[in-house]
Symmetry: C2
Subunit: 492 residues, 2 copies
């Protein structure tokens, strides 16, 4: 019973919340807005981390670690950045607890242990990192610095949802320093493309690469590049961002270098990040009313094997075959779980693995042993077939590639069907009320119009796509001239 | 000049501090007591993490993630644990900053944004985790829970030193839940043995496995197992701990389960951890007056290749040979860095790689090309030889194993030579003043005597070794009867 999910058509938001908890991905904790990532959810995140980390290293980056805390005086140094994050900062003010004299067995903050300067729990690390880079950079020979950090950050959000928006979340943040503007811009674009490649090849999630408008930009950036995905309910989700920071942080922290010509200049910067929010995007791109659907490239177990037996003798015979089968699959780099728990029946196991999105399920019983077959079930299509155990490792290896591809194609088809060009405000509103998805429309380029449209429709400009064709038009709201279409949507 | 380290015999502590900074491992940050782990230092830590993570998974553990913050009311639930950590807690009291009306461009804590309940930045996660486990455990079928977390923790230490004692540090903390006392004790011992195996096989650092006395125990534990290493200056270093927590946390958080017989019982617990402190242990076990010495199993680059050339033509010819050589080495799973920077001379490169402890250095110049040879230098012994490039990958593969082994043997010889049995308090004091190291002595088993000895000599009981032989004796201080020797030392 506990396995019955709300249907997506009934209440998408409720479906999502239930799925995250029932599939054992994450749950709310005793700390407001902070989540516990459970082992199964964390195993998926680890697969994301491993691949991203590989891609960062392949593009010349190294990992490092910077402090969790940012002294207030550093935090406020880059004004726009500070303004952007000040309203959602967890602040450490004391460094000791003591016994509460009025309350036996309880503790209270020790009033004598007040910090001289408050410490902000990092909402992002530009400030502490650029303050550090100041000591590392003197000459062009010290550049570029290409560093990434895997870390937890805290943003005190008022309305939180598991994975999508939590007070504490896990992420990676790249922070690079360059001698020239061109090099920093190239880095910004490169990393946005790395994110897009990861999203498409590993998450099987099609994304649109683009640039944010001024009002949607990262606080302190000159330009924010992003990848935008479309969820099944027609809402957009920003899945990753890469910022060209210009010389803003170098100026705020006085980071200069001597170039090859012996002249002093401020250093150019980028930063880029993706977070556990990707888990939410993954779930909402592929899953169905029966639970999670995982692309094979990110599934902790790509194949689960469930034995069907009535007595020990049968189990022993099955187990013998399974051990050989498992080794054959593993030799093809396929991850396999043999679910031999004796505390659950096959039906309960089937339901659990379906809910948890294991891409392929093999069931094997006494009849199969006789016939040299197994029952092979696909999670994504919910189809089953009886296949010969002979050479099954090649078939499964192929099938996993097929599933990965088909999940991407299906999501891409859905996304492409949900990009609509509109040319009037009436159409725009009608579109948002019915089909949702991305709306491609002309906009006059002003923040005023953008804000007005947001106020009236809740839709925001998700991005100006890299591949947006240059085309004369009129702003759907003001009628003023426009040179290209931008993508609007309601967003997570 | 900046490369000249203080000699160890001159000032061991200064040597350590300089080495950590000059070898680019870590540095102090703008936040009191918090460090920045630089890319080279972090690459070593990543190698430690990867191997430990593999060992944890091989023993059935899964990773998960729990919140950074612990609400004060949960923090104080297990009294001894709370008492042990209350004095060094960073406390979040507010969740917002605002513009400071008295100070243009500055921020201040928003007095309206005071939290109803303060949040402690985790110094360790038993409280938040056991509060979570309560929701996960109903029956014996839910047990054991075998979870590990990689995380940052904060303990507000007054005197800090890079890696050895920092306010924020990185660690892993295992937290397991079991149906029986015996199973939890077995887990505690197993994980202490995993740590010992890692320390010896990967860090090439011999350790003594043992159990702590009551006064050295983890706050909230029934028993603390540990691995103790000996540094070159004769001081001991606790390198890892594994705690049997009994039912203390289960009782504090009311975590009961129904056993197979249908009866309710409290759950049994363990926790175990190692931290970035291991970096300090690694450095102080092997390094010398010229800098870091790294065991091959933890070296980010096991081999560095430095080209020696006077013109582009020579460089091109060398590079061609190096590319083939590098591939040959990599095919044997040897990590190789080709240091082809044109901004530094060979001498500067040699000095840097020596300082950073790269196990093997290959230098190759025009003469070598003619002769089909290279110069091969060992960091640990500082010896050099000319070797044929033909089949060098096998030689190097063997040599790396030899270095790993010899580093361990050398450290073990040193450690074994620095364990001294003493039978009187006079000898004990004399020993501490001269040779230092571990002192194996009889102790009457009381905390009083232990404290008195600490007060008089600064030496503490590091552990009661697993393999301590049962032997009648008299306490060196009180003369009271004792059944086995324990290990004393001054410690980090």
């Amino acid at each position: 019973m506990s396995k019955n999910l709300t249907k997506r058509t009934e209440d998408y938001s409720k479906w999502y919340n239930e799925l995250v908890v029932k599939a054992d991905l994450a749950e709310n904790s005793a700390v407001r807005g902070c989540m516990v990532i459970k082992p199964y959810g964390f195993a998926i995140w680890e697969k994301m981390q491993n691949e991203l980390d590989r891609m960062f290293k392949a593009t010349g980056h190294q990992n490092a670690y910077f402090p969790l805390f940012v002294p207030k005086s550093l935090f406020e140094a880059e004004e726009k950045n500070a303004e952007g994050f000040a309203k959602e900062c967890a602040v450490v003010t004391h460094y000791r607890l003591q016994n509460d004299p009025d309350n036996e067995g309880k503790l209270r903050v020790d009033p004598e242990a007040k910090l001289e300067e408050e410490l902000v729990v990092r909402p992002t690390s530009e400030a502490i990192i650029w303050n550090t880079y100041k000591g590392w950079i003197q000459s062009y020979r010290d550049l570029p610095i290409l560093i990434n950090q895997w870390a937890n950050v805290v943003r005190w959000e008022m309305r939180t949802r598991l994975f999508l928006r939590t007070a504490e979340f896990l992420w990676q943040e790249g922070h690079t320093a360059h001698a020239t503007e061109a090099e920093a811009i190239a880095e910004t674009e490169q990393m946005n493309k790395v994110y897009a490649k990861f999203a498409e090849n590993f998450m099987a999630m099609p994304v649109i690469k683009g640039v944010k408008t001024e009002s949607e930009r990262f606080a302190g950036a000159i330009d924010t590049h992003c990848i935008e995905a479309l969820m099944q309910d027609g809402k957009a989700l920003q899945a990753g961002t890469s910022h060209f920071l210009g010389q803003n942080f170098a100026k705020a922290f006085d980071v200069k270098f001597t170039n090859k010509e012996g002249k002093q200049d401020y250093v150019w910067a980028t930063s880029w990040g993706v977070s556990t929010r990707l888990m939410g995007a993954l779930i909402m791109t592929h899953s169905d009313d029966k639970g999670l659907v995982l692309p094979p490239n990110l599934a902790p177990n790509q194949v689960v094997i469930v034995p069907i037996f009535k007595n020990d003798e049968q189990f022993t015979a099955i187990k013998k075959v399974v051990i050989t089968l498992k080794l054959a699959l593993e030799s093809k780099n396929i991850s396999v779980k043999f679910d031999d728990r004796d505390t659950y029946r096959p039906g309960a196991k089937f339901a659990q693995h379906e809910l948890q999105g294991v891409p392929l399920r093999i069931a094997i019983g006494p009849k199969d042993l006789e016939n040299g077959t197994v029952e092979l079930a696909r999670r994504d299509t919910l189809t089953k077939e009886i296949v010969s155990i002979e050479g099954i490792e090649d078939k499964i290896s192929e099938l996993l590639k097929t599933i990965q591809e088909e999940l991407f194609n299906k999501a891409k088809r859905f996304r492409d069907e949900h990009i609509t060009e509109v040319d009037t405000f009436e159409e725009f509103k009608a579109q948002l009320e019915t089909k949702t998805g991305f709306i491609s429309a002309h906009w006059d380029g002003t923040a005023d119009t953008e804000n007005k449209l947001k106020e009236l429709t809740k839709a925001t400009i998700r991005c100006i796509p890299y591949d947006s064709k240059i085309e004369e038009g009129k702003c759907i709201y003001t009628g003023n001239p426009s040179k290209q279409r931008v993508l609007f949507a309601k967003a997570y």
